[in-house]
């Protein structure tokens, strides 16, 4: 009997040793540690934008090294959310890696749909020691909002994005335009506009009819001072937030996205910002009320708009000469300042669903995505990498918008741009030196958005309220009062 027990013990011990020595050795290399998963196919879903296309092109290196196949599905913004939520609700396990905008984090965490990162991060057999969450990212605050919920980390950033100003420096810095502006408005044409007053004045100034002159040339079609997101679409929510925050307003008084603060969407600052936003519609293309991000971007690519507030990860299209008439004529600055010099936190995060049956292989891919090759591939396709180190790369240094994007997220100035420079590269010096009225110094205030589970309801109500003001159905006061009541009813 004793012999039997001894034999069983020896066999068991041998099997355990064998298991750890072959299957789950401590981290040596991606190639070695991914061997147990060779032949596995992972399915990832994300938003159809050039940076994800960049990852799609770069993933072959991961596939070759690991033998793990990765299929990347790309859809529109809302479709990604709907498809992933349907996958989670049905527990179908179709997707192994899910990219979602960070405002969804409360919903997916509270419903227990995603696996906390620590389950992989603390596993020595799965974690590449080179990956660390401390000091890696552009902004800790950004990381905590995008990837963590109530102090637990649930994902890694696909990117950190924010909205900033795209402007045509070729016309803003044209001597004739500068002289005309000074004559008309009594001060120097600001390039870029620093305050909201500058923004409105320049939008009005550059709105011209076909046949008039612009920067010394006769216009063949109407030209517009700006383009805003005004359709009944989530783009309108994001678009207006820039103005709401800049005017000193908020949706709720919160310090973290997961908090339920007091609803203040009907504040005087919010009303003022919405009235201002509506004024911009007068200087936007005639189809403005149907504009989302796509149309705003297209109008800039066509060269019919002087300036607009847009996402930093969409600049690729406007800087690509094959797609854009204004490539090489654009520069990038922060959102104009009224009461706050600010930027809104946003990002897409890579989550691993609990329903996935290949979570460990999925983690290996997510981890690989944070590496240099993948991050550079995304940046070269117009990405907005969250990894600070990437911006030291020679390949990245000449990306026109990168210094402004980095400045807004981290406060770090990689390169400045002076008015009159021959390229758009660098964060405008005048914006860097601009005072933030809310702090009294030049720092940028980083503003978090709500991320609790009810956030989608809040977004929808704000979107509808803003749109109904822009269409003239309601006044700003009426719409935001209604919005306040609706949000208060819904939140606990």
């Amino acid at each position: 009997m004793k012999k039997k027990i001894l034999l069983v013990s020896i066999i068991s011990l041998s099997l355990v040793c064998l298991f750890f020595s072959f299957g789950f050795a401590k981290w040596t290399s991606l190639e070695e540690n991914s061997k147990p998963f060779s032949g596995v196919t992972l399915r990832l879903i994300g938003e159809s934008l050039p940076p994800l296309e960049g990852l799609n092109q770069a993933k072959s290196a991961f596939e070759e090294e690991t033998g793990i196949k990765v299929i990347i599905e790309m859809y529109g913004h809302q479709e990604v959310i709907q498809k992933t939520t349907a996958d989670f609700v049905g527990n179908t396990g179709i997707y192994d890696v899910v990219l979602n905008p960070h405002r969804e984090i409360g919903k997916i965490v509270e419903n227990n749909w995603v696996t906390p990162l620590e389950e992989f991060y603390n596993n020595e057999n799965l974690r590449n020691p080179e990956l660390t969450l401390e000091g890696t990212f552009l902004s800790e605050e950004w990381f905590n909002e995008c990837c963590a919920y109530k102090d637990t980390v649930y994902g890694l950033p696909f990117h950190f994005i924010s909205m900033f100003m795209w402007y045509r420096y070729d016309i803003f810095e044209h001597p004739e335009e500068m002289a005309n502006f000074k004559e008309e408005y009594g001060y120097e044409l600001p390039s870029p506009p620093i305050t909201m007053e500058d923004y409105l004045n320049t939008a009005e100034f550059f709105t011209r009819k076909k046949g008039e002159k612009l920067a010394g040339e006769t216009l063949e079609e109407d030209f517009y001072g700006t383009a805003i997101q005004a359709a009944r679409h989530v783009a309108t929510y994001y678009g207006w937030l820039n103005f709401l925050y800049s005017f000193g307003g908020r949706e709720l008084l919160i310090d973290k996205g997961s908090e339920y603060g007091k609803v203040v969407i009907n504040s005087p600052e919010a009303i003022e910002s919405l009235e201002y936003y509506k004024k911009l519609l007068d200087y936007s293309p005639p189809g403005g009320l149907t504009y989302t991000w796509d149309e705003t971007q297209a109008s800039q690519q066509q060269g019919i708009v002087a300036q607009a507030i847009q996402w930093d990860d969409a600049t690729y299209a406007v800087e690509d000469p094959e797609q854009s008439l204004v490539a090489g004529k654009m520069a990038f600055s922060g959102t104009p300042i009224n009461e706050v010099k600010m930027t809104q936190i946003e990002g897409w995060t890579m989550f691993i669903p609990r329903s996935s049956k290949k979570q460990e292989a999925a983690w290996l891919f997510v981890q690989w995505c944070m590496g240099e090759d993948s991050q550079i591939a995304q940046m070269l396709n117009g990405g907005a990498s969250s990894v600070r180190e990437i911006y030291n790369s020679e390949k990245i240094k000449n990306i026109i918008y990168a210094p402004t994007a980095v400045y807004l997220k981290s406060g770090e100035v990689l390169q400045t741009r002076k008015s009159g420079d021959k390229t758009g590269l660098g964060v405008p010096e005048t914006f860097v030196n601009a005072i933030n009225p809310s702090t009294g110094d030049t720092t940028v205030t980083i503003i978090p958005k709500p991320t609790f589970p009810e956030q989608e309801w809040v977004v929808e109500k704000i979107e509808l309220a803003v749109n109904s003001v822009l269409t003239g159905e309601k006044t700003a006061e009426e719409a935001l009062e209604w919005c306040q009541e609706e949000i208060e009813k819904e939140l606990p």
Binding site: T85, K107, A230, P285, L289, T290, Q455, E460, E473, E490
Partner: protein, 303 residues
């Protein structure tokens, strides 16, 4: 024999149950519960008729129902008038190429609604759309059509008329072409004028077909979703938010599956009542006869 028939029917019935009845009963169950994936208060608990009570006093739902009828009534009415007129003209013209024309006529009807929506959205775009640009050029509109609270719904109705009028035309044309000639010849011999012929011969012949087309189009128009979603997403504001778009937003954007299910069930009830009303109208003669049988006995009314 019966057992054999049942065996043949069983697979169909099982599939029907899985794809049609089961989702309906699941939705019915959800509609009595507080199920929401975007609310920290929701636990999936039984709430009885609360969702229905809430829906019947929900201004947004009632508004969306009103929008649905604002779309349905003019769209179906114009489709019937235009379709009827075109079918009658084709039938009267004795045009020999009519059979070849039908497949061409029906093209807009067989195109997927999503594509129709895209065609509408792109062609009405005021900066590059083939219709929108000219409307702006000639000063008929100042800004965008689909961005205007006043113009967005008429634009959707026009697109729907363009899509569905051929369907009405083809169905009614088939009816016109199958008319027996004798009653018309007899009427002509008796000296009936065109109006009398139309009123007393054409209309009674075509009425059942017209009623079926009206029923089909009304149900379809009541369910409208894809075209509106592609063209306006229910905007600007909520001026084109039909009840199905509202239900979609609740269920698949806010993930309020309990309340959303109650809305869907209510829409089903409205749709069902519409059908019943039409069927009763169609079979009114039959119903009248059945009632007479009940009250007076079989064939003994006058005795």
């Amino acid at each position: 024999m019966k057992a054999r028939t049942a065996r043949w029917i069983a697979p169909t019935m099982i599939i029907l149950f899985i794809v049609s009845l089961m989702p309906f009963f699941i939705a019915l169950n959800y509609s009595f519960r507080d199920i929401s994936y975007t609310s920290s208060r929701s636990q999936g608990q039984w709430v009885g008729l609360d969702n229905y009570r809430k829906a019947l006093s929900d201004p947004e739902f009632l508004h969306s129902l009103g929008i649905t009828f604002k779309f349905l009534i003019p769209a179906v009415l114009f489709e019937l008038i235009l379709g009827f007129t075109m079918a009658m003209l084709f039938a009267k013209s004795n045009f020999k190429g009519i059979r070849k024309l039908i497949p061409i006529l029906i093209i807009p009807t067989i195109i997927a609604p999503v594509v129709i929506g895209l065609i509408g959205r792109l062609s009405l775009n005021s900066e590059f759309g083939v219709i929108g640009v000219y409307l702006r050029k000639f000063g008929i509109i100042e800004s965008s059509i689909l961005g205007s609270v006043k113009l967005a719904m008429p634009a959707i109705i026009l697109i729907d008329i363009w899509q569905w009028t051929p369907f009405v035309t083809v169905i009614l044309l088939a009816g016109f072409l199958s008319f027996p000639k004798e009653p018309f010849e007899a009427a002509a011999m008796d000296g009936a004028n065109p109006w009398q012929t139309f009123k007393h011969i054409t209309m009674p012949f075509i009425a059942p077909l017209l009623a079926i087309v009206t029923l089909l189009r009304s149900i379809e128009a009541f369910k409208i979703f894809d075209k509106v979603w592609i063209m306006t997403q229910g905007g600007p504001g909520s001026s084109t938010q039909t009840s199905n778009i509202y239900a979609y937003r609740l269920n698949f954007m806010h993930w309020k599956l309990g309340y959303g299910a109650a809305i869907v069930i209510l829409l089903y009830i409205v749709s069902f009542l519409l059908c019943v009303a039409f069927f009763r109208y169609l079979n009114r003669e039959q119903i009248k006869k059945e009632r007479e049988v009940i009250f007076y006995g079989n064939g003994s009314k006058k005795n």
